[in-house]
């Protein structure tokens, strides 16, 4: 398959952003080095993004989150070649938003979900531990 991504293009290369305070930042240098690029042929409302080093884990969850957005007409993901660690996400939206915004909303939504899952998991666990602790004492 011909390489269609111009990751050397300086306009698309990624520079480390200023990290906002308080946010959880990974200390994983491998994760930080990876790039996201827009594949050629993109318009505002229809674009394909390429994520380096991602797989089905992120791809499918992200696809679901983006498809839940009413302004998104189409979202799909693919790993074009199994030996090439690259994941493509295709997003087509209505005129009310852009593909990039839909992608960002997808990430935000997933992060919100992670918070809710953590919170409910922790409280359910604490309650379970307390109850089984009581049972043992009896």
């Amino acid at each position: 398959m011909p390489e269609s991504v111009h990751s050397q293009d300086p306009d698309q290369s990624m520079v480390d952003a200023e990290q906002p305070e308080q946010e959880v930042v990974s200390n994983d240098p491998i994760l930080e080095e990876r790039q996201v690029v827009v594949l050629p042929g993109a318009t505002d409302t229809a674009a394909s993004f390429q994520f380096e080093g991602e797989g089905h884990t992120m791809g499918n969850a992200l696809r679901y989150a983006i498809m839940k957005n009413p302004a998104v007409e189409f979202c799909g993901y693919t790993i074009p070649h199994p030996s090439d660690a690259k994941m493509h996400v295709r997003i087509q939206t209505t005129d009310s938003t852009t593909a990039l915004e839909a992608l960002e909303k997808g990430f935000n939504d997933l992060m919100d979900l992670c918070d809710v899952v953590t919170e409910k998991f922790t409280s359910a666990r604490d309650q379970f531990n307390a109850e089984s602790g009581n049972r043992m004492e009896v």
């Binding site: 990624m14 994983d28 690029v37 992120m58 498809m67 666990r125 531990n129």
Partner: protein, 370 residues
């Protein structure tokens, strides 16, 4: 126009994946905007209903996540197995190995030994940066990226062994090398983190590493580093991490008498119970119970424990009387830790990793916008 809200029955129907004798039906989720005309289905975080715990031990946790989509549940499962960082033996420096087990085989065995230690300390540890082909330089082992273990064993004859002794463990000293023989040497700040019970040690001290005979010896230095399961299975923090969907059994028409007993036998114990048909039920016309007052009928007691073997679908007498299925958004997780972290902590770590990845990619997007 306000969005249409489907009836409870319709929503329940959509939640069940049909499991039939030869086919599985209603597989893909349809809760997307635009799929059902007039209905909303937009993103709503409160679709995630709750977590129910079934078991919470150090080495095994079982819990239900209710109200998730398979894509998200699967992301958690995949992260549990392949993307949570753990510490394992990575570099083995062999000073001497005269045992019969070859250097490379021994090194591979050592790598797979699960280690435990202060969780705080393990989280404090950083990645060991390896030299890359592009000319990236190696960090070199430091206290924050490498834990050093030593294995120094020599086998010799036991003078006090009985004359007719056959057991090599009594006949010789150090005939067997176990995981407990790995000696931890703290360096620098590791002395603050890995002290007392928090010291680095194998989770299972009785793992057999090698066997020796008098005159043989093993001397080596082992460097443990941080890594993830995607790189090598030895870094995977779980023995297994899996989920299944909650089984759903619907008895649509009465199963009575001997049939009920046979029906119960098609399932694991406790899944199907037998109850007498009440006189009120028997009096009701068209219920199928007419004239069967006092007989035993089959009722679903505990669908959770079912294995969905479909055995009941093989018998003609239950034809059209029972419907098997699974609940689409009820995931029963089972996480078995190898011991470095507690099982419940591992799941929380998995959620954290997913969030971290989202956050990192979101930051990457800011440059695309410019």
């Amino acid at each position: 126009m306000a969005p249409l809200v489907p009836s409870q029955e319709e929503l329940q129907r959509r939640r069940i994946i049909g499991i039939n004798a030869e086919t599985v039906t209603n597989i893909p989720s349809t809760d997307f905007p635009g799929h059902w005309p007039g209905e909303s289905h937009g993103w709503a975080v409160d679709e995630f209903q709750k977590v129910e715990f079934h078991r919470n031990d150090q080495f095994e946790a079982s819990f239900s996540l209710i109200g998730l989509d398979a894509s998200v549940a699967n992301a958690f499962r995949r992260i549990l197995m392949a993307e949570i960082p753990t510490i394992a033996i990575e570099d083995v420096f062999i000073h001497n190995n005269t045992s019969v087990i070859q250097d490379e085989v021994l090194a591979q065995r050592l790598g797979l030994i699960p280690l435990k230690g202060s969780v705080e300390g393990i989280n404090w540890m950083q990645w060991f940066k390896k030299a890359t082909e592009e000319g990236g330089e190696e960090d070199g082992p430091c206290d924050f990226n490498t834990i050093v273990l030593h294995l120094d064993m020599e086998c010799y004859k036991n003078e006090h062994a009985a004359k007719d002794e056959q057991d090599p463990r009594k006949l010789y000293t150090n005939a067997h090398v176990y995981a407990k023989d790995l000696m931890f040497t703290p360096v620098g700040r590791q002395e603050q983190y890995f002290v007392g019970d928090g010291a680095i040690a194998p989770v299972n001290p009785d793992i057999l590493i090698a066997k020796m005979r008098p005159g043989q010896a093993i001397q080596m230095e082992l460097h443990c580093q941080k890594g993830i399961g995607a790189d090598h299975a030895k870094f995977s923090p779980v023995a297994t991490a899996s989920y299944r969907l909650l089984p759903d059994i619907k008895i649509e028409r009465p199963i009575i008498g001997d049939d009920a007993k046979k029906f119960a036998k098609c399932f694991p114990k406790g899944v199907i119970g037998l109850e007498p048909v009440t006189s009120a039920e028997a009096a009701q016309r068209g219920s199928g119970y007419e004239g069967h007052s006092g007989e035993q009928k089959a009722v679903v007691k505990d669908a959770f424990s079912d294995t969905v073997s479909r055995e009941c679908l093989r018998h003609d007498e239950f034809k059209d009387k029972v419907k098997l299925g699974r609940v689409r958004d009820h995931f029963i997780f089972n996480v078995e830790s190898t011991g470095q972290f507690d099982s419940d902590v591992l799941f929380l770590e998995a959620v954290k990793v997913l969030k971290l990845k989202c956050n990192r990619w979101k930051r990457g997007l800011t440059d695309l916008m410019a």
